[in-house]
C-alpha cells in the first residue's frame, strides 16, 4: 500500500487557489459563525419517550480566519454542533448565523470534511475532488482544472485517476480535504477528520493542514478528541461538557505560528495541554 510518507510535500509550492483575489480584500475579521442559545434534543426510539439533550443553550462566536477546535468527552454533542453549523440537521431553539445570516441548510460558504472520508467509491480522486463543483453546475473542464490545483495542494499529484480504495486512509482524507477546499468555502467544518487515521499519519496530516491553512486562512471549526491535536491546531479550544452538551470553557492558545512538531516540545504547549487535561479529567466518567 502506498503510504502517506511516500507523498513528497516539500517539492510542492503553495498552489494558487481557484479564486485568489477575494481573500485579502474581503478580510474584515468579524464574526463568521455565531451561535446564540442553541439547543438540540434527539428523540429516543419510537417506543420510548426518552429524549437526549444533545446541546443546551450553546453560545459561541467564531471570527473570520480563526481556527477553533472543539473537544469534550463522548456524548458532549461536539459532532452535533458541527452538523448544525453545516446545516445538515435542524436545531430546536436559538439562532445559528453564518456571516450574519441564519442557517437553514447546507450552503456554498461552508464545506465539510468527514471522519469517514465519505468518498464516492466508484469515482476517481479527480471526480471526488470535483464533486462539490459538479453539484454547483460548473462545467467539466473548469471543475477538473480547479480540482487538479487542489489535488496538487494536498500533495496527491499523480493520483488523479486512482479510485479511493487504492489509497491509504491518510491519502483518502487528503482527497476529502481537497474536495472541501475545491469549492473555496469561507468556512471549513472538520468532524474528527483524522480520527480514523493511524497515529503516524495523523501527525503528518496535522502538519499538512497547518501548512495549507498557513497561506490561506479559512475559518475552521475542527472537532477532535485528541488533546494534542486540539492545542496544536487551535487559536481557541472550545471545551464542552456532556449531558446536556454545554460550552464548559473556552481556552485561548496564544502559541506563535507557524506551528509544527517543535511547538509540542515547548513549555507553553505542555502547560495548555495539561490545563485542558485537568479540566477534562473532572468530567471523564470511566
Amino acid at each position: 500500500m502506498t503510504d502517506m510518507t511516500a507523498v513528497s510535500t516539500e517539492t510542492q509550492p503553495p498552489a494558487p487557489w481557484p479564486d485568489d483575489a477575494s481573500l485579502a480584500a474581503a478580510s474584515h475579521g468579524g464574526p463568521m459563525i455565531e451561535l446564540r442559545g442553541v439547543s438540540k434534543e434527539f428523540l429516543g426510539d419510537r417506543s420510548s419517550t426518552t429524549t437526549t439533550h444533545a446541546l443546551d443553550n450553546i453560545s459561541l462566536t467564531v471570527n473570520e480566519h480563526e481556527f477553533i477546535t472543539v473537544i469534550g468527552p463522548s456524548g458532549c454533542g461536539k459532532t452535533t454542533l458541527l452538523r448544525i453549523v453545516a446545516g445538515l440537521i435542524p436545531y430546536d431553539s436559538g439562532q445559528v448565523l453564518v456571516k450574519g445570516k441564519p442557517v437553514t441548510g447546507p450552503g456554498p460558504d461552508r464545506a465539510v470534511v468527514f471522519q469517514s472520508f465519505a468518498l464516492l467509491p466508484w469515482a476517481t480522486v479527480l471526480e471526488n475532488v470535483a464533486f462539490g463543483l459538479e453539484t454547483r453546475g460548473i462545467p467539466r473542464a473548469e471543475r477538473e482544472e480547479q480540482a487538479r490545483v487542489l489535488i496538487k495542494t494536498v500533495g496527491l499529484a499523480g493520483f488523479e485517476s486512482r479510485l479511493p480504495r487504492h489509497l491509504s486512509g491518510g491519502m483518502q482524507q487528503r482527497v476529502g480535504l481537497a474536495r472541501a477546499l475545491a469549492v473555496n468555502p469561507d468556512i471549513l467544518l472538520m468532524d474528527e477528520p483524522f480520527g480514523a487515521i493511524d497515529e503516524q499519519t495523523r501527525r503528518i496530516m496535522q502538519e499538512e493542514l497547518l501548512r495549507i491553512w498557513g497561506y490561506r486562512r479559512k475559518t475552521v471549526l475542527f472537532v477532535t478528541h485528541s488533546m494534542e491535536e486540539a492545542v496544536l491546531l487551535a487559536d481557541r479550544v472550545i471545551l464542552m461538557s456532556p449531558r446536556p452538551g454545554r460550552v464548559h470553557e473556552i481556552i485561548d492558545v496564544p502559541l506563535p505560528r507557524p506551528r509544527g512538531r517543535e511547538t509540542e516540545r515547548t513549555r507553553e504547549f505542555t502547560d495548555i495541554k495539561e490545563l485542558l487535561w485537568d479540566k477534562l479529567r473532572v468530567m471523564q466518567t470511566v
Binding site: 456554498p108 464545506a111 465539510v112 469517514s116 465519505a118 464516492l120 467509491p121 466508484w122 464533486f131 454547483r136
Partner: protein, 237 residues
C-alpha cells in the same frame, strides 16, 4: 474436474444399461447432429428465446425503475409490498395454466410466464441495493449542496448497481427456467418441444444434448451479464 466428471458420466451411463440414460459420447454425437446434421436446435433456440428476450426485457424495464423508486419511497414500498410478497412466496408453475387460459397458446402466454418467473427477483434486489446506500455518502452530497436529482444520479444509483446486477443475473436464470417450464408444461414449442419429442422417440442422447444447449446458453448469458457489469461498475470487483 471437468474431465473427471465427463469420465464418470461416460462410465456410469455405460454401466447403468438404462435406455433412458445417454452416455457422454452419444450425447456429443447427438449434439453434433442437432447443430450440423438435422440442425433443429437453431430454430428451436430462436423460437424459445423470443419469449426469453421479450420477457426478460419487459421484466428489467419495469422491475429496475420500480425497485429504485420503492427503495427510496416509503409510500410506494408499502403499496407494492403485498404483491411482492405474493410473487416471492408462490410457486410460479401453477400459474402457467392461468396464463394459457388468458393468452392462449401464444407467444404472449410464454412471455408472461417468463416475466412471472423473473420480475420479482430483479425488483427485490434493486430495491435492496437502493436501501443499502451508505447514508454517510448521501449526507456528504447534501453537505456539498447536491440536489435530489444529483443525489440520485451520483450516489444512489451507482450504489445500487451491484445489487441490481445481482438481481438481473438471478432474474435471467429464472427467466430461462420459466422459458423451458412453459414449453414443457403446455405450449410445446422451441426447446421444450424438442425435449418432449426426443423423449417420446426414446432418443435420450438427443434429450441430453438439448439440455446441454440450454445450459450452455445460460452460462453464456450469465457471462455476458457479468461482462456488462464489469463495464458499468468496475469498482465492484
Amino acid at each position: 474436474m471437468l474431465v473427471a466428471f465427463l469420465t464418470f458420466w461416460e462410465v456410469a451411463a455405460r454401466l447403468a444399461h438404462n435406455i433412458g440414460i445417454a452416455t457422454f459420447s452419444d450425447t456429443m454425437v447427438a449434439a453434433w447432429d442437432l447443430m450440423f446434421g438435422n440442425g433443429r436446435i437453431w430454430e428451436a433456440m430462436l423460437n424459445s428465446n423470443a419469449a426469453l428476450v421479450l420477457g426478460f426485457a419487459i421484466s428489467a424495464v419495469t422491475a429496475v425503475p420500480l425497485g429504485l423508486a420503492a427503495g427510496r419511497s416509503r409510500i410506494l414500498d408499502r403499496a407494492l409490498s403485498p404483491y411482492t410478497a405474493i410473487l416471492l412466496a408462490i410457486p410460479v408453475a401453477p400459474l402457467v395454466p392461468i396464463a394459457i387460459t388468458a393468452f392462449g397458446l401464444s407467444l404472449a402466454a410464454r412471455v408472461s410466464i417468463v416475466i412471472l418467473f423473473a420480475v420479482i427477483f430483479i425488483y427485490v434486489n434493486t430495491r435492496a441495493g437502493v436501501r443499502s446506500v451508505d447514508q454517510r455518502l448521501v449526507e456528504m452530497a447534501h453537505a456539498f449542496g447536491a440536489s435530489e436529482r444529483t443525489i440520485w444520479t451520483k450516489v444512489v444509483i451507482p450504489s445500487a448497481v451491484p445489487a441490481m446486477f445481482a438481481g438481473l443475473r438471478i432474474g435471467l436464470g429464472r427467466a430461462l427456467t420459466g422459458m423451458v417450464a412453459v414449453e414443457l408444461l403446455l405450449v410445446a414449442t422451441g426447446v421444450g418441444k424438442l425435449l418432449l419429442e426426443y423423449r417420446d422417440r426414446l432418443q435420450p442422447a438427443y434429450v441430453f444434448a438439448t439440455v446441454l444447449f440450454v445450459i450452455a446458453e445460460a452460462l453464456l448469458l450469465l457471462e455476458l451479464a457479468r461482462f456488462i457489469e464489469r463495464k458499468v461498475a468496475p469498482w465492484n470487483d
